[in-house]
Symmetry: C2
Subunit: 334 residues, 2 copies
């Protein structure tokens, strides 16, 4: 896991170097007037898809949805995808239900894109356009370099369909910003120490960072068996805020931008209720930061790297093997 | 909370008695060819919307999505909703961001429906068609009768747009099936006793019951401050299954149908890993059942009532007031 995390600056730089080529293929595929976009993913890829959904909705200005594979694979509903862009995301490209949804969508008229690390996988073959992550083989069970590559792929896809701010400078600076985090393991080690005695964790964010909060929770859960859940700041206020007084650690993610005030206000409210809350990101009172100058569309990559660092440090603190957590396998068949 | 739960058979019967009238209004509103459907909700209403999304996708045969309000209210993205049906669900009809999304959607060409308990609320005024829950004032903070009325409303909406199996017999039998559960508090009391010593709960289901699993988790979390999360059976296999060996109680919901085998197989796998798992529904090995003859489209109502009973019993066991859980208010402004 540590070795694969360390590859990220180079892998992301290589992917970003292909951004204009990928954008060209996407623009050639996608009609000028979309009905909408459907994302198909599970696990960590689904967290990346949550981030990607925000970017694609802002870029295409049409609604974006996450597919419920069971509608197709179990209930056999014959959904009409004509006019839609369908983007399937799978590290292995081998989760059968994801391949099946793409095949059904294509047959009913969708334009389809596969984001996968295996260019020879069934998913890569099923889609009209392949966005190959080219992240190299990922052997550790917790996905790291493929997840950040998925996040960057979504930014490239979205920028191909509408200006979301992924200019050449933003793209060129990202690998160094990731490298800077990897060279600074101290703050995540302190967050891991804060979590070492607990069996529960809630992460919280809003907007573009919401999916990153999900991936941070999932990564920590995978490596440490800690029961972790992510919340949108808005949803946490609806009912789950009841947990604030139970001592559960709450890790909030924020980056200066349209969504940050909402998170900072929630953190203040949680603190006033006596909650055990810590803040990450380049904001006041943060215990773990990242590059403040990164554009918000790429910040999920930085937050996810911070989460990987916490997950790795916590596994080591707990004396468990982060590469092969108990009971998990790399490809999940559902 | 108990009094409001007890009203459900009568309130649902009254709503179902209006089903042909509501269906007529919906059919008059919705164009023959939809681009898709967007659902807008938070909290318990969002869990009902998850169930409703499956029904509407199967009925309309076009993709259904849940809106991310922050895209509109924080990032001010100018999304084009033309060709879409937008369904907003809010008990109070007074959550400002939900009203704002409906107003923006309508202005950009969507047909809009409000499902709310307050026919004089801003949300009711903003939408083209109002589906009034007419559940009577709900005073307990944990929403009960409005949630089951929302679930029934979704079944009525979906049936108006495509045959999903809500025939008159199915509708007529539901209130008695709910009454039968309310008269049988023993099994949920035993589930509550099982949960009384824990600080965590995972619920799991798949397909039409997945949203119900979310509402069961949320209801128990609201009344008892227990940290509860729901999973799709498919997602639980992707990473979170790491928690199976930590002793966390896992409550699985299943009803005979296309999705039940997947849940039962997961339960068997969890048991083989030594997980602390219990099963609810009219299936073998269940600790808490409901009417097996109910059509799967209405089963979320029955599962949610079972969850309400567990939440109420657990609050009483823990000596907390289920009507006014600490730190929660009825209308949440985000």
């Amino acid at each position: 896991m540590a070795a694969e995390m360390a590859e990220q600056p180079d892998r992301l730089a290589a992917l970003l170097a292909r951004r204009h080529e990928i954008a060209g293929e996407i623009r050639a595929l996608v009609p000028a007037r979309l009905a909408g976009t459907v994302l198909v993913a599970r696990g960590s890829s689904d967290q990346a898809a949550t981030c990607g959904g925000y970017l694609l909705e802002m870029a295409t200005r049409r609604p974006v949805t996450s597919a419920s594979p069971s509608v197709h694979t179990l209930y056999r509903a014959n959904i009409d995808f004509s006019g839609y862009l369908v983007v399937a995301i799978s590290q292995s490209g081998r989760t059968p239900e994801i391949v099946e949804v793409v095949e059904r969508a294509k047959a009913s008229g969708a334009r389809t894109v596969a984001i996968t690390n295996d260019a020879s996988s069934p998913l890569a073959s099923a889609a009209d356009v392949l966005v190959a992550l080219d992240a190299g083989e990922e052997r550790a069970v917790p996905a790291t370099k493929t997840v950040t590559a998925q996040l960057v792929s979504f930014a490239i896809l979205a920028q191909a369909l509408g200006d979301i701010g992924l200019d050449d400078r933003a793209g060129d600076e990202l690998p160094a910003q990731v490298a800077e985090l990897l060279a600074d393991p101290g703050p995540p080690a302190e967050v891991a120490a804060w979590l070492a005695g607990t069996s529960r964790l809630a992460t919280v964010a809003r907007g573009l960072l919401y999916g990153a909060a999900g991936e941070v929770a999932l990564k920590i859960e995978e490596t440490s068996s800690l029961f972790a859940t992510s919340f949108s700041a808005a949803d946490l206020r609806h009912g789950p805020i009841a947990i604030a007084t139970t001592g559960i650690p709450i890790l909030a993610l924020a980056h200066p931008g349209p969504a940050s005030d909402d998170v900072l206000e929630l953190v203040a409210e949680l603190r006033s209720r006596g909650a055990n809350v810590r803040l990450a990101g380049p904001v006041e009172g943060s215990v773990m930061s990242w590059a403040v100058q990164a554009p918000e569309i790429l910040v999920p990559v930085l937050a996810v790297v911070r989460g990987q660092q916490v997950a790795l440090a916590l596994a080591r603190l707990l004396g468990v093997d982060p590469d092969a957590p108990r009971g998990l396998t790399k490809v999940t068949v559902t």
